[in-house]
């Protein structure tokens, strides 16, 4: 029964604290959380600015961002690959097949999600706050942190959506990371490798660990969000 042995393998892997597994888990978290952090630092203010300013081409930009939410990971990976490959414009940095390249590729995937969904959330809040904030004399740049802070409960979900995208994708990190053992191997690429080698229990075991981690991160964020919501109404 592959399921039983998969579960047993997963439990055994975790209990044994297998250093190779821990490395893979740690790198997975580092890459995905790093990408989400960078994408949030860029995407939250970008989305808020897009909600507040009217300019020619704004509609096209919003449509483009929404479309990029569905950017196939392999395409993002390929673009970053072309940028970073030896012959590419940033080839001299020597970043291809490093975790940094993987973070860059995942930022490309997560940034549109965070920016587009933040735009929606902040725009709705701004409709409610606009007159009061203008009456208080706030300039638009000054409104950005205020609106982001007051939209914080909804934005937790936005960032989680971004984290879900980063932790689930395999195409981009595979292309720009190369799945090098001990250097750029993360959970999703390891699962692909083990599956193709026919080691289904290990692949499933890794899958269960990944699922557990994602569930843990989401549960934590949910609890924080709910507690804050109850307290602040």
């Amino acid at each position: 029964m592959p399921h039983d042995s998969a579960l047993a393998t997963a439990v055994a892997l975790i209990l044994a604290g297998d250093p190779a597994l821990l490395d893979i888990v740690a790198l997975s978290l580092r890459v995905s959380l790093g990408a989400v952090l960078i994408a949030a630092l860029l995407g939250l203010p970008l989305g808020a600015a897009l909600a507040l300013w009217r300019f020619p081409g704004r509609g096209a930009l919003i449509v483009a961002l929404n479309a990029l939410m569905g950017l196939p990971p392999v395409v993002a990976g390929l673009s970053v690959y072309l940028l970073l490959s030896r012959a590419g414009p940033l080839g001299e940095l020597g970043l291809l097949f490093t975790p940094t390249a993987m973070v860059v590729a995942q930022v490309m995937l997560v940034l549109p999600i965070i920016a587009a969904l933040t735009r929606q959330q902040v725009e709705a809040l701004h409709d409610e706050y606009r007159e009061q904030l203008r009456s208080l004399g706030l300039s638009r740049p000054r409104m950005i942190p205020t609106l982001l802070w007051d939209a914080r409960f909804g934005l937790i979900t936005v960032i989680l959506a971004g984290f879900g995208r980063a932790s689930a994708e395999v195409g981009a990190v595979m292309i720009v990371g190369g799945n090098i053992d001990g250097v750029t191997r993360v959970m999703t690429t390891a699962i692909v490798l083990e599956t193709s080698k026919g080691d289904l229990p290990l692949a499933l075991g890794l899958g269960i660990v990944l699922l557990g981690l994602v569930a843990l991160v989401n549960a934590g964020a949910h609890l924080i969000g709910e507690a804050a919501r109850r307290r602040l109404g």
């Binding site: 409610e128 007159e131 009061q132 208080l136 004399g137 602040l232």
Partner: protein
């Protein structure tokens, strides 16, 4: 009531003039040819049937909206202004933090903010609620917090757009007392209401709007006893006019 917040005597507030103001929205003229001059430290009540343009007039005067035609300008230096809305917009943080925020935006030095905010909470009877999230306060408490926030800004002119229309009598009384406090401190008041009794209690003068036109701008005494226009007379008798 506490006296920590005795404001420095406000210098005379420049008159505010609206000159032949039109406001058109999607081809619909909502205000037409409104001219109005507000001077001194009077309490001016804006009256009129629903849809007369009362809220619009307040927003144009406050500068939240720009007129389609005509102009709104201060005859001198623009004073600090504040506005209290029908539905108070409070930030998702504690009552105290809402006030600290307003002070920060106004540029009050950091070390003065907390004592000022505490004193304002006490003045408006909210001291016990300082740490409560503003959004879970009752309607009356929220409106008092909005007034406390306006109070901290020491406005030369205060706009209130139907501030009591969804409040119970006790809360209405608190708002009216606050309006008097502002007035005593030297703040010019422009307030809209659909409550004629309230207007009689508060008004020094009345602006009467009907169908997007300013029909009367008169001392309260004269407006309530001998209105110039048949529309105002009908409105005062409680008749439905359009």
């Amino acid at each position: 009531m506490n006296t920590m917040l005795q404001a420095p005597a406000l210098t005379a507030v420049a008159p505010l003039a609206l000159e032949a103001v039109d406001f058109v929205h999607r081809g619909q003229p909502l205000l037409s040819d409104v001219s109005l001059r507000l001077a001194d430290c009077r309490r001016t009540l804006v009256l009129g049937p629903n849809g007369a343009g009362k809220s619009l007039l307040m927003r144009l005067a406050h500068g939240l909206l720009a007129p389609s035609q005509g102009r709104v300008h201060w005859e001198g230096a623009a004073p600090r202004q504040a506005m209290v809305f029908q539905h108070p917009v409070l930030l998702k943080r504690s009552a105290l933090d809402n006030l600290l925020y307003a002070l920060a935006v106004a540029g009050t030095p950091w070390r003065h903010r907390r004592p000022l905010a505490r004193a304002a909470l006490a003045r408006f009877g909210l001291a016990a609620l300082a740490r409560r999230p503003a959004r879970v306060l009752s309607g009356g408490e929220q409106q008092r917090l909005a007034l406390a926030r306006a109070w901290l800004l020491e406005p030369g002119m205060l706009f209130l757009d139907e501030p009591t229309s969804s409040l119970d009598p006790a809360a209405i009384k608190a708002v009216e007392a606050a309006v008097d406090d502002f007035h005593r401190r030297g703040t010019r008041i422009l307030m809209s209401t659909h409550d004629l009794h309230q207007a009689r209690r508060l008004a020094d003068e009345v602006v009467f709007l009907c169908g997007g036109r300013l029909l009367e701008h008169a001392p309260a005494e004269r407006f309530f006893t001998a209105p110039d226009t048949p529309e105002a007379a009908a409105f005062l008798r409680g008749e439905l006019i359009d």
